[in-house]
Symmetry: C2
DNA sequence: CATCTTGGTAAGTCGTAACTTACCGAGGTG
DNA sequence: CACCTCGGTAAGTTACGACTTACCAAGATG
């Protein structure tokens, strides 16, 4: 779903065609993604085109980076302890 | 859950104490995270210590980066089209 | 070796996420 | 302005994820 949206602006109906679920189901998925700040939609005449929101992706990346940092810190602490024992 | 594990190596029971769920529930969560490659566990005497797997985090970041790139690409294509129309 | 601690697994319950069909409103088109 | 396409919303069902209790295996400890 998200991967399809990432390929470029797509309409709801178009997405439904490429997925094994109904159009309303797609609509509901998109609402969740939109609420999560991961996609943006804009009206294009009769239809609505959805695309990925770079800011959402960036936010998610930042969140992951936090874990990355904490993991490294934890490693550092563990290494220190090991050193103490050896010392 | 994941945030607690990120703070450093923790035992299953210790996690359960800090969470509003039972120990088996924690165990099951950890199995999912482990299957997803996001955490690693190692036996420590009687207990098992869990910690975040940096490789899993890196993989997830890489995956996100893909969306980031595709989004930028889509933007580039859109910009080109707009240019054509203006030209 | 009896017993305690620790953690994983099994089985079952329960809440809710994900889907369906049916319906409605808005925008395009003859 | 009748009619089509497109998409969101409502209501209902159904499958599944998250939890519980009960049980079992493995390691520590007297």
């Amino acid at each position: 779903m998200f991967e399809l949206v990432a390929e470029g602006p797509v309409s709801v109906g178009n997405l439904a065609l490429q997925l094994p679920i109904s159009r309303p189901a797609v609509s509901q998925h998109l609402r969740v993604l939109k609420d999560a700040g991961l996609v943006i939609d804009r009206p294009e005449g009769n239809r609505r085109l959805y695309r990925v929101d770079p800011r959402g992706i960036a936010e998610l990346r930042a969140y992951l980076d936090q874990f990355w940092d904490e993991t490294l810190e934890a490693f550092a602490r563990a290494a220190e302890h090991a050193h103490e024992e050896t010392t």
